[in-house]
Amino acid sequence: MSSPHIRQPASVRHIMFTVLLALVPGIAAYVWQIGAGILLNLAIASATALAAETLVLKLRRRPVAITVGDGSALVTAWLVALALPCIVPWWLTVIAALIAIVGAKHLYGGIGQNPFNPAMIAYCAMIVAYPAIMSQWPAAGDTDFAVQLQLILGGSREIDGITGATALDAMRTGLRSHSEVNAILATSAFGFAGGRGWEWIAAGYLLGGGFLLTRRIIAWRLPLGFIAGLGGTAALFWFISPERFPSPLFHLASGGAMLAAFFIVTDPVTSATTPRGKLIFAAGVGIIAWIVRSFGAYPEGIAFGVLLMNICVPWIDRHTQPAVFGQRQETRS
């Protein structure tokens, strides 16, 4: 055995389960504001992901117990479930989880090897394949678990009574019909910061993110870069034309912004690794998300931002290598 002969008690499993723990406040707010249907979706995604992970590892003749036990498949599953609308039929969640684990993760060689964020690949595949279902979000306040259950398991798509436009959707449609931002915000879909009810979920993710930061599980540059990229771009245009562009607060509190800031762009495997690179990567995601939200064909653009920036990661890393010991001073002299 060679040096070092001692090791800090740390493990991938500990990291992953801390991330799961940090998702709990957001999920609790979800149950409180939208309904318990999300719990069923989380369960479906988790079961699918764990089964797929086990099967693929067996097929690949890799150690099963240690890799399934590391919790990474569960993190992916939970992020997939939280990214999808919580009343999608069960089979859509199953397909999404399969795409994330088998397609986006194991086809590239398993944990640590995938260049693209698995949850975002699954989300993008679903929004392209099932645009109608993927746009059906439940409205806040209608916490009717029975109806949600029926939608998820029964496949009934009689949804008019319970869905409502999301904040991003309502804003987009409103702006397209030349309404002003303030008038749109006055409608019932909006609460104090973002979508009515959804802003509490965002607050839950923020809380969990703060926990991850204090535990040093995530690198602070990633959420900071994302918030600066999305919020900064939004602030710039809002300052120029507040009636046509919603405020940075609206952007950060709506859609998946907080989930992305602390749980998606912070994925170590697919984000940039250098200090400067992390800022550039995350800011890029935020800027692309803002562009897609403001001018694109989809109401939410974070997933596209993440995947596009994933492509750039090797290039960003290569060009932002930090100076090594003694190098800075040498170049100075």
């Binding site: 070092p4 991938v12 590391d70 690794t273």
Partner: protein, 515 residues
């Protein structure tokens, strides 16, 4: 003056485990019946034996002369008889044997007459020669010959004395500073005399308050002695591994970052371990060559302690002294961060052996199975050099050695911080050692190949040249022959003409026809 401290990036704070042995005063280890003194005791050269089997030697007597400029002398650690000169297993990860002088002690410990050398009245050359002849090498572990380092013609401003002792478990420097502060200081001042430094900074990790107090008291006392011109400061530094790495300590104390491939001397700083300073003092002020060192014996033992051990003492006898507890499955030399597992306990203590740790699975649990890297960057955060260890890992694993070079693999000091923190339990340092040796081997191969090509080309050129020369020689000879023939013809003609003229003197006015 209040010393401003600098930070180095990264580093870790492992459990110190100094308490186990730090309270135990230095005690002389008992004289073993047989000592095995290796001829290689410095990183830059060996010694050449000057004794033969059967010779009686005195304690401190030179038994091996320095070979080459980088060699350092070795001495008899005790009085007795040379019984063998042969190959013995050494304290090295490979366990390879190397040439050593075996000494059977007579138990009398009779010293050779010491010849102190007063630094104030000796020339620089004399002092350097004495340091080399006393066998002094860096005692922090690198065993670099001290006369080479201190003999460099560099403008040195600051002498750093390394009392950081940042590796867990080791306490030999701590005890040395507590008990022999005055000698350390005297040695440091001699070193200043040699390199011309104007100030001495003694860096000690703040988890050793007794050592700091002892050194401070010694510095105050010696200042009262009225030494002119040299400023001595004892600087407590934050305990953070690897603060005792030479370049890290220089960074912390002076703010200077000495890059890989450069030496501190280029930046006006030189750094010596407290043990080295102590040895310099013993060699000059007392005329005692380096025949012993302080060794911490700790870990899974009944009585951890610090011993003054004669070089050549077998490690097993040292362990026996401390009572190895059951459950010990291997023995480490050095600290747990950079030390290595001893392949054999018969190996002798040498100048670089600072610590022996009896390791048990309870104290040093075997590493959990290696998992996949998730690029979490914890290793980059811990690296004191500011490297991206996970990039080096990916490159080494895939044998992309050019990439490994681009990510500065040779800047890696193998301190082990990255592997210590890795949540995937990847033995990162092993990967880097592998890549380094592969790159070195490849470079050697390339060098050999290019040398062979150069040889072949020069042979071709030589053959070509010889051919041309031969042709030229032949041509010259032909020309000569032709010329001499022509000259011969001319002579014959002239003779004939002369004869003709002689036969008809009346025609003498008319020139002969030039044929």
């Amino acid at each position: 003056m209040i010393q401003r401290l600098f930070r180095f990036r990264g580093g870790i704070e492992p459990a110190p485990h100094k308490r186990e042995s730090s309270a135990a005063p230095i005690r002389p280890a008992p004289l073993p019946p047989k000592l095995v003194v290796p001829l290689i005791q410095s990183s830059r050269g060996a010694a050449r034996t000057i004794v033969t089997v059967g010779d009686k030697v005195l304690k401190g007597q030179c038994i091996g002369e320095p070979e080459g400029a980088g060699g350092t002398a070795i001495h008899a650690p005790t009085s007795g008889a040379v019984t063998e000169i042969g190959r013995y297993p050494m304290a090295h990860p490979s366990g390879l044997a190397s040439l050593a002088i075996v000494l059977e002690s007579d138990g009398e410990e009779r010293w050779i007459t010491p010849e102190p050398l007063d630094p104030a009245h000796a020339s620089r050359e004399e002092l350097l020669l004495r340091i080399q002849a006393s066998g002094i090498v860096g005692m922090g572990g690198a065993v670099f010959p001290s006369h080479i380092k201190i003999g460099k013609d560099a403008a040195i401003e600051t002498l750093v004395i390394n009392g950081a002792e940042c590796e867990p478990w080791i306490t030999c420097d701590d005890r040395l500073m507590r008990e022999r502060a005055a000698d350390i200081l005297a040695g440091a001042k001699i070193l200043c005399l040699l390199n011309g430094a104007r100030r001495i900074l003694i860096g000690i990790e703040d988890n050793k308050p007794e050592a700091i107090a002892a050194m401070t008291a010694a510095a105050r006392e010696s200042h009262g002695g009225g030494e002119a011109g040299v400023d001595v400061e004892i600087v407590p530094i934050p305990a953070r591994y690897p603060a005792g790495g030479e370049k890290q300590l220089i960074r912390v104390l002076t703010g200077i970052e000495v890059p890989a491939g450069k030496i501190a001397g280029d930046f006006g700083v030189q750094c010596f371990n407290v043990g080295t300073a102590h040895a310099v003092c013993r060699a000059l002020a007392h005329g005692e060559a380096m025949i012993s060192r302080i060794v911490t014996v700790t870990g899974n033992v009944e009585r951890p302690g610090n011993y003054e051990v004669l070089l050549g003492t077998p490690i097993s006898s040292l362990l026996a002294l401390c009572g190895v507890r059951p459950g010990t499955d291997r023995t480490l030399m050095g600290g747990p961060m950079m030390g290595f597992t001893l392949p054999s306990l018969d190996a002798p203590i040498t100048k670089g052996s600072n610590c022996i740790i009896a390791a048990s699975p309870a104290l040093f649990p075997p590493p959990p199975p290696e998992q996949a890297c998730i690029r979490c960057g914890t290793c980059a955060h811990a690296c004191p050099i500011g490297l991206q260890p996970f990039e080096l890992y990916w490159a080494s694993r895939a044998k992309r050695f050019d990439d490994a070079n681009r990510y500065h693999i040779f800047d890696c000091i193998e301190c082990g911080c990255c592997a210590y923190v890795c949540p995937a339990h990847i033995p990162l340092v092993d990967y880097f050692r592998f890549a380094k040796s592969e790159i070195r081997a490849r470079d050697e191969e390339q060098k050999a190949a290019s040398q062979a090509r150069a040889r072949f080309e020069s042979r071709l050129a030589r053959l070509e040249r010889e051919k041309a020369e031969k042709a030229a020689r032949l041509a010259a000879k032909a020309a000569e022959t032709r010329a001499s023939l022509a000259a011969g013809d001319a002579a014959l003609i002239a003779a004939a003409v002369q004869r003709t003229q002689a036969q008809s003197p009346d025609d003498a006015t008319t020139p002969p026809d030039p044929i």
